[in-house]
Amino acid sequence: MKFSKKILETFIDLPKDWQELMEDVGLEVKSIDGDIINLELLANRGDHYCYMGLMREVHGRNGAKIKYDMEKMTIPLDQSKKPNNLFKIETDKCLAYSLTPYKLSAPQKVRQTKDKYILDILNASGVNVILDIIDITNVVMLEHGQPAHVYDADKIKGKIHIRETKAGEKAALLFHDGLTEIPAGTCVIADEEKILCVAGVIGCHGAEADENTKNILVETALFNPVAIRLASRVIGHTSIASQIFERGGNYDAIANGATRAKKLYEQIGWIQNGEYQITPDTNPVKTKPIKLDGDFIRSELEIKISDSEIEQRLLRYGFDKTKNGYQIPAWRVWDIKGEPADLIEELCRSIGYNALPSKLPPVILGAKKTDIQIRKSEIDSYLVHNGFYEVITDSMYSPKHASAAPNGEHIALENSVEGGYAFMRNNTIVQAAELVGKNLRVKNREIRAFEWGKIFKGDKEIEILWGVMNGANTNALTAKTLMENLFNDLSLTAKIEYDDFAQSAKVSEWKLLNPKRRGRISCNGLGVCVFGEIHPNLLNEFDIKNDLPVYFSFDTKGLMDLASKKTKYNSPSAIVPSVRDIAVAVPYGRNTGDVAMFINKEYKQVADVKITDVYDKTKESVRNITFSLTFAGEFSTEELNKMILEIMESANKFAKK
C-alpha cells in the first residue's frame, strides 16, 4: 500500500534510517517514488492500513514522539443517550455500527475537494478524488484505519437496516452495470426499499451522495472479518476498506473516526444535524489480559531486559497494563490470541530480531543416509552417467492427456483455474510421449530423460521412477541393456519376461507399449519395472512419425525395498576357455533368447552363450544369428568340433519348431 512520507511525518518523527526501521518492523519498503513509499504490509495486520497504524508501529519500536494531536484533529460528537432510531442491526455479522447526521450549513454549488492535505493523502494512496463529502470518509479511513461511508439522507426510505440478504436479492453496485445478484446471507446496509451498500465492500446506487446532496448520514462500523472476506470474494471487489475489515477493524476507531469526520465536515461547511448514534457495546470483541513473567521473557529471548523496559515497550504498542496482565489494544484483538508468545513477538519487533542472539541447536550426532536415500543416489548416478537428464513434469494434466491414458479412471480437480490441469495423472507414459514430441519439434532427437514422481490412482499415490529415451542408436534392446546394467549396478538379480503377464494396477502403461517390443523385469518374483517402445497409437497422438522412443517405469517402492544380493567371489579359471561360433537360422516369430536358453540348458559344457551377430533375411522371414559359445573345461579339437556340430544341428532344429 502506498503512503506519503511527508504525511506520515505529520503523525510521528521518522529517524534518518527510516527505511531500515520500517523493514525491521515488518513493513517492507517495496519502492520509493519521491515522497511516495510503497509498503508491503504484514498479511494479518488490518491496523497497518492507515497512517495511525504505521505511527504506532514506529512508536512501538523506537518510542519516537507522536505528533498527531487527537484533540486538535477531532471535534466531539453530540451523542444520543437514548436508544438509536436511525438504524436497526438484524445480523451478528455487524459487530458495531454508528451514524452521524449532517446538513449543509449554507448553499454551495461546487463540491470538489480543494484542500491540499486531503488531495495529497488521497493521491498518495491512489484513492480517487470524488466529492468533498465522500473524500472525507476516505481521509478518515487512511488516517485512522476506520472505513466510513456517506449516504444521502434524503434518498433513504425509512430506517436503515443492517441485515443479511435473502435469496435472489439484487443491488445496483457502484462501478457495475445493471443489477447484481447478491448471495443470500451477505451483510448489507439497506433502507426499507433497497440495498444501499454491501457492508464493508462496495456502495450502491440509490442513496449515494452527489453534488446536490444537502443532508447526509455518515457511517462508521465494524463487521465480522469472515463475512466481509466472503462478500468481497463473491462480488469480486477488493478495496482498502474491505482489506481492513477482512483482517479485523479497530473498535476504538468507530467513534474516533466519527469525531475526525466531524472536524473535516465542519471545515467544508457541514454541521452535525442530530445526535450521533452508536450501538451500545463499543467493545464487541472480548479479550482477556495476557499474563507475562519477566523471567520467562529473558529466558526465551536470551537477553538482558528489565521488567520496566518490557513494560515500556508494550505500552508503546498500546497495551494497557492491568493487575491481571496486559490488555490487548482495540486494533490488535484480531491477530493477538492472548498467549505469552504474542507478547514475545511484540517485544521481538520492538527490539529487532537482528539484535537477538543466534546459535545452533545442540547436535548430538548427525543423521546418516537411509538405505533408500543411498539407493536413490546410486540410481541417479547411474542414469546421469548414461546420459539422462532429470526432469520435473506436472502431476496434473489435461483432458487430452487423460483420454490418451491407458486407464480411464482419474482423480479430477474441482476448481482448477487452468484448463490444462483437469486431472491428476494416473500414468507417465503419455507425458513421456509428449516430452519426446516437444523435443523433436525443436530438432532435439537425442533424448534421455527421467523423473522421480507420483501417479495417482484411486486412493493411492504411487511413487514411480520413469524415463524415456530416443535417438539414432536407441531402441528397445538399448533400453534392455540399460535396465540390465542398472540392476547389476544395484546388485539385484533381475529376471526379464517378454510375454504378457497378469496386469496389476501399477503397470497399466504396459498397454501403451509396443506389444512386440516390451519387457517386464521382476526381482525375487516381484515385478518392479516395465520397459519398451511406446505404442505407435500413442506416438501418433503427439505427431511422432519416424522415431521409436523407449519408455521405462519402475515401481519405486518395490525397487527401494529389494535387498541387494550377496555376491560371492569366484576366482577366474586357470584354463584358457575355448570359444566357438555357430550359426542358427531363427524364423521370425521365434525368440532368439529362447534358442540361447535352449543351448545353455541342454549343453552343460557350454558355460556362456553370447549373440554376436544378427542378420535379417527378410525375404525368407528368418534371422541368421551367430552365437558365440564359451566351453567350460579342457577339450580336444576333435571333441570341440564334434560338440559344435551337434549343438548347431539341435539348435537349428529347436529354432524351427
Binding site: 490470541k337 498467549e339 530480531y353 542472539p357 539422462f388 496434473m396 476448481n415 509428449e434 530423460a449
Partner: protein, 334 residues
C-alpha cells in the same frame, strides 16, 4: 683378408641404407650372417688352418661378425623409428571431432538444491520426512491454525479434489502435521528434527514466474527449551550452506498462521535484500493441536522454495525448469 673385410663392411652399410622394410633387413641379416653367408663359410674354413693360426683368425672373424650384427641391429632400430615417425607424420586423425559414446546427463537443479539442503541439515541431525500430495485439509490447514475462511487460506490458493475434504497440499507443512500427529503428544519421543522437501500446489494462473506446482523445503525441530536464538542459528546455517559463508543475512517480522513469533530471513544480493526463508517458533496453539503443552515444549520451523533457488542459481525461469525441453538442462549444465 682384413682389407677385403673392410670393403665388405662398406658394402653391408650400403645395403642397409637401401633397406626399406623390416623384411629387407631380415634378408640382409640372413645374407650376411646366415648359414649361407660368407662369414659362416670362413668360420667353417678355420678348421683347415694350422692349429697355431686358427685362434687368431677365429678371433678376427668373430669380431667381424659382431660388427656386422651391430650394424644390422642399428639399422633395424633406425628403420623402426623411421617407420613410427612416418606413421605418425601421415596420421590424419582429427582429434577435434566430437567424442564418441554417451555424454553424462544431469540431475534437475531443484534436486541438486534439495540434496544440498538435506545433506546440510543431516549434519544437524535432521532426517527426511515425506507425506502424501493429496491431503486432508485437517493436516494442510486446520491443525496448523488456518481455519476455514481465514484470510491465510487466500495466501495459498488451493486445488480442491473434493471441496473442504480433499486437496492438493499447498505446502509441505502438511508433512510436519502428520509427523507431529503420529507422536500423539508423547514427550518421550522428543526432540524431533525433520525436513520435508517436496512438491506443493497452488491454484493460480500460470506465467513465467508462477506455476501450479513447485518445490519447497521445510524444517521442523520440536523439543524442550528450543529458543528463538536457535531458530536464527539454524536459518543462518542453512543459508550459509546454500550461498557460502560470506552471505549477509537479516531477519524481519513476518506472519504465518502456524508460527509465533514469525520471521523472514533476507539475504543481501546485487538486487538488494531478498527474502528467502519464512520461519518462526511453532505457535502455542499448534503445539496444543498436536497434544503438546507449550509450557514445556517448543519448536522451530522454517521453509523456503527450492524451485525459486534453482531459478536464481541457473538463470532459468520457472516454466523452463518445469518444462520438457531438454535443451534447458543441457544449457544449464553448460
Amino acid at each position: 683378408m682384413g682389407f677385403l673385410l673392410v670393403i665388405k663392411m662398406n658394402e653391408l652399410i650400403k645395403e642397409l641404407k637401401n633397406a626399406k622394410t623390416p623384411q629387407d633387413l631380415d634378408n640382409i641379416k640372413s645374407k650376411w650372417l646366415g648359414k649361407k653367408s660368407e662369414i659362416k663359410a670362413q668360420m667353417d674354413a678355420l678348421r683347415d688352418l694350422p692349429a697355431d693360426k686358427r685362434a687368431a683368425a677365429g678371433a678376427q672373424i668373430n669380431a667381424l661378425r659382431i660388427e656386422y650384427e651391430n650394424a644390422i641391429e642399428g639399422a633395424k632400430s633406425e628403420l623402426a623409428d623411421k617407420l613410427i615417425n612416418d606413421k605418425l607424420a601421415n596420421d590424419n586423425f582429427d582429434m577435434t571431432l566430437p567424442g564418441v559414446g554417451t555424454k553424462c546427463g544431469a540431475l534437475h537443479p531443484v534436486s541438486l538444491i534439495e540434496e544440498k539442503c538435506i545433506d546440510a541439515m543431516r549434519r544437524l541431525g535432521f532426517i527426511v520426512a515425506t507425506g502424501p500430495e493429496i491431503e486432508d485439509p485437517k493436516y494442510n490447514f486446520d491443525l496448523l491454525d488456518i481455519p476455514k475462511h481465514h484470510p491465510a487460506r487466500d495466501m495459498q490458493d488451493t486445488f480442491w479434489i473434493e471441496k473442504d475434504k480433499k486437496l492438493l497440499r499447498t505446502h509441505t507443512t502438511s508433512v510436519q502435521s502428520r509427523y507431529m500427529m503420529d507422536l500423539k503428544g508423547d514427550e518421550s519421543k522428543l526432540p524431533i528434527c525433520i525436513v520435508s522437501p517436496g512438491r506443493v500446489y497452488r491454484n493460480e494462473a500460470l506465467d513465467a514466474m508462477h506455476l501450479a506446482a513447485f518445490h519447497q523445503f521445510e524444517g521442523l525441530m520440536v523439543g524442550h527449551g528450543i529458543k528463538i536464538s536457535e531458530l536464527k542459528g539454524t536459518i543462518e546455517f542453512i543459508l550459509k550452506e546454500i550461498y557460502g559463508d560470506d552471505i549477509k543475512v537479516r531477519f524481519k517480522p513476518k506472519f504465518y498462521p502456524y508460527t509465533e513469533p514469525s520471521i523472514g530471513a533476507d539475504i543481501l544480493t546485487s538486487r538488494g535484500w531478498v527474502t528467502i526463508v519464512g520461519a518462526g517458533m511453532v505457535s502455542p496453539q499448534v503445539l496444543r493441536n498436536f497434544g503438546f503443552d507449550p509450557a514445556r515444549v517448543s519448536g522451530l520451523a522454517f521453509g523456503f522454495g527450492t524451485s525459486r533457488l534453482a531459478g536464481e542459481f541457473t538463470g532459468a525461469n520457472m516454466r523452463e525448469l518445469y518444462g520438457m525441453d531438454l535443451r534447458v538442462f543441457k544449457n544449464i549444465k553448460g
